[in-house]
């Protein structure tokens, strides 16, 4: 998905790096990376270390970093498709065009937020978030080292302490639930019995700093409608997975 953008923008000195947050490691990520014929660095992050460092709570999530190693756009949902753009309140090509503008103009791009806006748009980490990260790290290590059952309570605790982390929740499902149930579990948690009814699944992205303030609960409802019309037929059956 990002391969063509990587090819298009590399003459501007832009490198695309993808990171697979996956306790399943290279085995889980390989088919997707090979299918994309990715030539950019495609990294494997079993521990979700990058998510912890950059505060990614869902996928896809992205960050822009400049030539000096400064974060010029903190964690946000990127949109490579029209449906993803619609969910985060953008027109079909708005996001990719903003990346193109940043690639060409660097920090002078109007799509690079001021340092103050970058700071205020970041999540404020509290002690529950840290305890969640600690539980995820310990649980993931145990799973990775053959102690799957020992890891379960820690991963569940991480999900409980950081309910907005779909990365924790969906990773735990991928480990402990049968693969064919994951879609139905996701649909139930996002649409049928939302775990966070007033929080968007993907926060709206304000590209140039003058987007209208959007009510988060309204965005959450819009995204639920999109999920319902897109996935309802496949996942809505209450008794079991399709």
């Amino acid at each position: 998905m990002w391969q063509s953008l990587s090819e298009e923008l590399k003459h501007h000195g832009l490198t695309v790096i993808t990171v697979a947050l996956d306790t399943g490691g290279a085995d889980a990520a390989r088919p997707f990376i090979e299918r994309a014929h990715a030539t950019h660095p495609s990294l494997i992050d079993r521990r979700h270390a990058v998510a912890d460092l950059y505060q990614f709570v869902n996928v896809p999530n992205a960050v822009w970093i400049d030539e000096q190693g400064v974060i010029v756009r903190p964690a946000h949902a990127p949109a490579a498709t029209a449906s993803m753009a619609n969910m985060i309140g953008l027109g079909a090509d708005d996001y990719l065009n903003a990346v193109r503008d940043w690639a060409a103009h660097g920090t002078d791009s109007r799509f690079v937020p001021t340092p103050e806006r970058r700071r205020t748009s970041q999540h404020d980490i509290d002690s529950a978030d840290v305890t969640a990260a600690l539980n995820f790290r310990l649980g993931e290590y145990l799973v990775e080292h053959g102690e799957q059952e020992a890891g379960r309570s820690y991963l569940n605790e991480a999900v409980r302490l950081r309910p907005e982390s779909w990365a924790y929740r969906r990773q735990a499902w991928a480990i402990y639930e049968p693969p064919e149930k994951n879609g139905a579990l996701w649909y139930e948690a996002t649409v049928q019995h939302p775990v966070l009814p007033d929080e968007p699944y993907y926060a709206p992205v304000d590209l140039d700093g003058d987007a209208a303030v959007v009510d988060p609960a309204q965005t959450a409802r819009n995204q639920r409608q999109i999920f319902e019309s897109t996935f309802g037929r496949a996942f809505a059956k209450k008794d079991d997975a399709p």
Binding site: A20, L21, S42, L43, L53, I65, L138, Y141
Partner: protein, 143 residues
């Protein structure tokens, strides 16, 4: 039974560790291997940063001072540094993480934290390998 220590991003298995309640006593070489911290005259040092060990509580941190019998209490240092920890008794695994204030400071700096991860071939990549480039980094998952 060996003790596993997950200290921020690193992990190590230590054969000669003593767990006493909420304390974790390590040989000085294991301390460095597991956490990067070294015991020096200036205190406990991680790279260029040295943290003085409080004189009045030195025995909570250090036993034996030097030689093969010297031990250091990593759990006490973590408490001093306000680093939360978690211990899984059945597997004897300790986990230490940076606290909320350290993380908040790091995020406010807007400096992109470094990391080192493998690609499909096992080749390791660090973010700093790409300094001088704009980096568009995207996280995804198979699940």
């Amino acid at each position: 039974m060996p003790v596993t220590i997950l200290y921020t991003e690193s992990d190590a298995v230590v054969d000669d560790a003593a767990i006493e309640g909420a304390d974790l006593w390590l040989r000085l070489d294991d301390l460095t291997r597991a956490s990067g911290w070294q015991l020096k005259p200036a205190g406990a040092c991680l790279g260029d940063v040295c943290v003085p060990i409080p004189d009045a509580r030195r025995d909570r941190f250090v036993r034996g001072e030097s030689g093969p019998d010297a031990r250091f209490n990593l759990a006490e240092l973590a408490r001093l540094r306000e680093m939360p920890s978690l211990y899984d008794e059945p597997t004897q695994t300790w986990c230490f993480a940076d606290g909320a204030s350290t993380r908040a400071q790091r995020m406010a700096s807007l400096q992109a934290p470094n990391f080192t991860l493998p690609d499909l071939t096992g080749k390791m990549h660090s973010l700093t390998d790409y300094r001088g480039q704009k980096i568009f980094m995207i996280a995804w998952a198979s699940w």
